[in-house]
Symmetry: C2
Subunit: 433 residues, 2 copies
């Protein structure tokens, strides 16, 4: 990997998401060599992916170049690579660009979509965990509308205008809400020949409430908001299969749809190589102790979505969200520094700052530890928190500008098919014109 | 194509570039049915593609959704399709989504890269006529830098850091300047391990001056600016071949380079179907009379880059730039309306408003008909004119914000590899994560 050997201990961090960035930041300007490896050259602000998918934000405004973040830090190295395996015995990682030895290894690889082994669903549904995937959804939605215009077969048209979102967590709820906003404000104007009543947005949740991790009040209100926006919310319904045409379920309801978005589960994206007992197979997450150590190793850590710290309050590990990831990353940096100085390590204690989700214009739900509220104010709080959390002044400014514009003009202007998704097989990079 | 037949005459416009948009705009709210067909669902502001390619602007800010532009116009139809041929006898066009008859046909398909029949050059060089192509260049530049870091073979590293731009027209000059700005302000910070002196930017021009269509003063000053920025300007040098490794020329100089951008020529992107005498083979442009009619047809028009109107001042047709395209589009709309009312048509007369090019920060050249100037003021004029010409308030605002940010911070923040170009064969849409 062409990284110089120094007398400083080397910390290798895999992944530049919330957890990895927080850890890297905490190790800046210390007597350490830090190597950050990511398969993208940018950090993705995942909470806003759904806005990219629905034409509300440009992809470049929720991505931040990782090199820029650290380009004034000495003894810091970034490498664009995919890590393929870990050799704990030899303290080595193997990647697409070669191997590298480490003194401390921080695994912050995050999570990936969980299809629960259903290969049909994996093949035919859309996932939304990365920017290219969100752009694929954006293209597909618009391509389906273009196609719906052309057919006079009503069944076919209905299928093209029928959207199914599987999973009533924050991702599914926010995406369903954003699609409903498109249905209200934009698509009828852009496609005046189509009967917009044919457009259906279905949100399917296998359990009996949406936003399961949030308060009952938030869950109920979010459902009200969605229904008011015209989303069909299906509860206690489990999707069993999708063959590219029909979504079949464990109930009597089946859905003919050209666009199925799978937001029904995530699992850890763990790296191969550690012993079986290090990984909780079901969740594909590393089992970590209260210092985020992947036991029995003392120099391998996992943080964020890929780490599962089983505690009394969280017997199945912390929620796979930004907050635990950031807090674990920050603490781990401190603990690594403490260990190097021979000091005592501090166990992780999750400071639950609450959760929030936005459904649409003026419609959001916020659960703070001591205060739960919904509606317009919640929506402003949601926006403020997300704007504040984005990395980089330019990104903040561009997102703010877009939000103000979208709000004032009831618009979402980045409804662009830059790289077609449906015609991707015809699509050639060389001849693209 | 599922477009209703009405009693109004139907005008079919192929292409939503500068020419097609101007024509469509001029035909709004008249007793006509207008059908605009484009292979993208957005208008591309081509003059700023080079800024997308060099990380200065996000692609979405120079694209404008075509449906939005016309969504409040009655009797206007947009179709996302590729037109494959024209059947003048039956007054029909054939496209990827079916056929359509027309009363008037406006061909505004623009231009495409001209490789002058060299298939090697076509295969191995990068072109920059569309947003996806610009994004490919952006990815390639950054991927090459990431790769340069990894190799300890100096020859290989030199090749990865050697950029060759063929063609000293506005596109080549602006791209070379932007790359030089990246070399100055950004790349040394992002890649502190690389010796930035190894990065070379070569601009190769076959004739004895760059910016050939502009004044001698502008050409000379632009060259000075480029040299000051560290660009190697090669004049009277013709590129003969490129095999993916080495650029060979008609001189003694050869260039080992991983990134060759071909900006040495454009040709019309004419549609098949009309008789041979309608097309000027060499330029692939339609021969049009002073009313932009593709003679002998009286109801088929060509405007913009794809039209070649041979006049005394422009024996080889007007320059393939935005201004003639917009002016022809506007006049054509008026002429079609005049003809429908039985009035006299007006012949086209090009109002040359001048030309301009930007080289870098505070460095531009402007030729107005009566005033030629260069430097800081020219640079502000260039920015103002381009900002003003962009379609859409949101686009203007986002571009302005980026420019202010880039200027104040000496930065270009969208240096993101969203879709890798080099690894495009490994890249699968389904499994992208």
């Amino acid at each position: 990997m062409n990284i110089p050997q120094t007398s400083f201990p080397r910390v290798v961090i895999i992944g530049g998401g919330f957890a990895g960035l927080a850890a890297a930041k905490g190790l800046e300007r210390e007597e350490l060599q830090v190597v950050l490896i990511d398969k993208h050259n940018y950090h993705t602000f995942q909470p806003l992916l759904y806005q990219v998918a629905t034409g509300g934000l440009e992809p470049d405004s929720i991505a931040f170049p990782l090199r820029k973040r650290f380009n004034d830090i000495d003894n810091f190295y970034f490498r664009l690579a995919e890590v393929r395996s870990i050799d704990a015995e030899r303290k080595l990682i193997h990647s697409s660009i070669g191997s590298l030895d480490y003194d401390y290894l921080v695994i912050a690889t995050g999570s990936t979509t969980n299809f629960f082994g259903n290969t049909n669903i994996e093949k035919f549904t859309m996932e939304m965990k990365s920017i290219p995937q969100s752009l694929n959804i954006r293209s597909l939605i618009l391509e389906n509308f273009e196609e719906a215009l052309l057919t006079s077969d009503l069944e076919e048209r209905r299928k093209l205008m029928n959207f199914v979102i599987v999973g009533g967590g924050p991702t599914g709820v926010e995406l369903a809400g954003a699609l409903a906003e498109m249905k209200k404000g934009i698509l009828p104007k852009d496609y005046p020949d189509l009967d917009i009543r044919m457009m259906k947005i279905n949100l399917i949740q296998s359990s009996d409430c949406i936003l399961k991790g949030m308060s009952e009040k938030a869950s109920k209100k979010a459902e009200d908001f969605l229904i008011k926006l015209g989303v069909d919310v299906w509860k206690n319904l489990r999707v069993l299969n999708y063959d590219g045409e029909t979504v079949s379920t464990n109930g009597e309801d089946h859905f003919k749809s050209s666009t199925v978005i799978w937001a029904a589960g995530v699992k850890g994206e763990y790296v191969k190589g550690l012993n079986a007992e290090c990984v909780i197979e079901r969740a594909a997450r590393y089992k970590v102790d209260s210092f985020n150590r992947v036991t029995p190793h003392t120099n391998i850590f996992a943080i964020g979505d890929v780490a599962c710290m089983e505690t009394e309050n969280f017997p199945k590990g912390h929620p796979m969200m930004a907050q635990p990831a950031i807090q674990q990353g920050r603490l781990l940096a401190k603990n690594i520094l403490a260990e190097l100085k021979g000091k005592q390590l501090k166990p992780f204690k999750y400071n639950d700052k609450g959760a929030m989700a936005t459904i649409g214009r003026n419609k959001a739900v916020v659960d703070l530890p001591k205060w739960k509220f919904q509606g317009v104010f919640a929506w402003f709080v949601w926006m403020f928190v997300h704007l504040f959390s984005l990395i980089g002044f330019r990104n903040k400014a561009v997102v703010f500008l877009n939000w103000v514009y979208n709000y004032v003009r009831f618009d979402r202007e980045t409804r662009l098919i830059i790289r077609p998704f449906k015609k991707r097989n015809e699509y050639s990079f060389e001849n693209e014109t």
